[in-house]
Amino acid sequence: MAVVKDDCETCHLAIPVLAEILRAGHPLTVYWQDDGAFLGPDLAATATDDRSLEQSFHLDIHTVPTLIREEEDAETGRTEGWNRADWRDLTGLPALGDGLPAHRPGCGSRSVQPGIAESLRARHGDTGIRARTIEVASGADPVEACYDRGWTDGLPVVPPTPERILRMLGGTRRDRAEVIGRIPPAMAPCTVEKVAVNAVLAGCRPEYMPVVLAALEAALDPGFTLHGVTCSTCFSGPVVIVNGPVARRIGMNAGLNALGQGNRANATIGRAVNLVVRNVGGGRPGEIDRSTLGSPGKYTFCFAEDESDEEWTPLSVARGVPTGRSAVTVFAGDGIQGVTEQKARTPEELTRSLAMALAAVGHPKLCEWAPALLVLSPEHYAIYREAGWGRERITGALHEALLRPVAGAGGVAEGMPPSYRGPLIPKFHPGALLLVRAGGSAGLFSAIIAGWPGGRSFDESHPVTREIRE
């Protein structure tokens, strides 16, 4: 038998050869994948429609033309593309293809095209997916079925069909059965496959999988305390910051509206992380997620850092990842507090101004309480850059500008323990003020993302950075 397609020059080359095989008295079936008309009248009787690609799938065809020899219903040989010696050997016809070139490579079989291969495997083969199967009856809306089962964060999800899950698994080289960790609060083991199912729900593309996996592994670091972040009465959810080449490769947004809507990678990577916490870990609001108010970031909060300026040390590099490598940093963060500062022209002025806004993290009366992520816009950063200030100097200056005496709580209930009376108290624990660059080129605005106060010391919950394994 042979498998061919019209959209392949080598298949056209093989038509007279196939006719020659038929004339020699060999029984022959020619499966065509797209349009059988090109086979012509000589092969019409033996041409068999395989537009469904079912035969191609079962025959494990990767290249067309493929010629297969069968004896007593068992395959005894095959050759791919056109190779005169191989075809002669396989058919036992010593003069087959006289006058044709000795060799021509074939084309890719339609059955192995991206997207089609997974569909065929889901329809005709063993997908290997271990997650429980749910059949949604004919006529029922699969999106509604996902709602009915409580799988969504309130927004519609992409139904996790076998085809989509297989495609998602294609985005990672990791074994689908590998357990990446236990997801709190239920401490349920989570496989790469379960991550893929939730990544489908979230709307991810397969190439986002390494980022989703790295973000989850970072969030599962005991130092991040995902259990507390999820169950706390505070506002926070995991904020994912992506650095390195992967961010550009998958089209993440670090520019205009970087913290907002509109970019698929930003939107769905963060969403996938939260859906894993919900679906695998059981962290559902109103149940064990006890957040008093929550925040929009608990749907998704993910963006890339702007690394366009070589003078700037990216967040991942500042946190120990070698330059040029891709990494994620997870930060337990609330929503955004915008900082409007359009008058400062010197780094000192800007620092004092940003410090005033940063003092409000948690509450102005609280010190060494919650961490913070300061997202510096390009125009604010330009003021520092022109003065030669980099990440380290800016961070140090902000810490210094945030030192203050504890002199009562300004008429509101006391916020600091008596031991804080006397010396100057820092607003943030060492290492608890992170700087990231992002945003559009116009606008003297920056953003503060207040962090989760966690326990009562920075050691109990802190940001975690992980290199991305691709």
Partner: protein, 94 residues
């Protein structure tokens, strides 16, 4: 023709074991009350008051503490409480 749609479960597919809550004791006399400080500010202060009130009524207490409120209690701590007390009072909030 069967045109149903196959989906795969995104959840952990585990079912928590549920057990009926043990009925509260009719009296605390002769029993040990575990006082668990979960690590919140002033938890211990609150438990000190509670302990004093219980002791004044002749009730035995045993103190336990989680290192932080941000993480779940370790299994060893839960085992210690189960082995050493009949009733638990937690100081939950700041």
């Amino acid at each position: 023709m069967n045109d149903s749609v196959t989906l795969h479960d995104p959840t952990s597919e585990t079912t928590p074991a549920t057990r009926p809550r043990r009925p509260p004791p009719a009296s605390l006399h002769g029993r040990t009350v575990a006082l668990l400080d979960i690590g919140k500010h002033r938890s211990s202060e609150f438990l000190d008051h509670l302990a004093a009130g219980l002791h004044a009524r002749g009730i035995t207490t045993a103190r336990f503490a989680k290192p932080t409120n941000a993480k779940p209690a370790a299994t060893a701590l839960l085992d210690d409480i189960a082995a050493g007390a009949d009733v638990v009072a937690e100081a939950l909030a700041d």
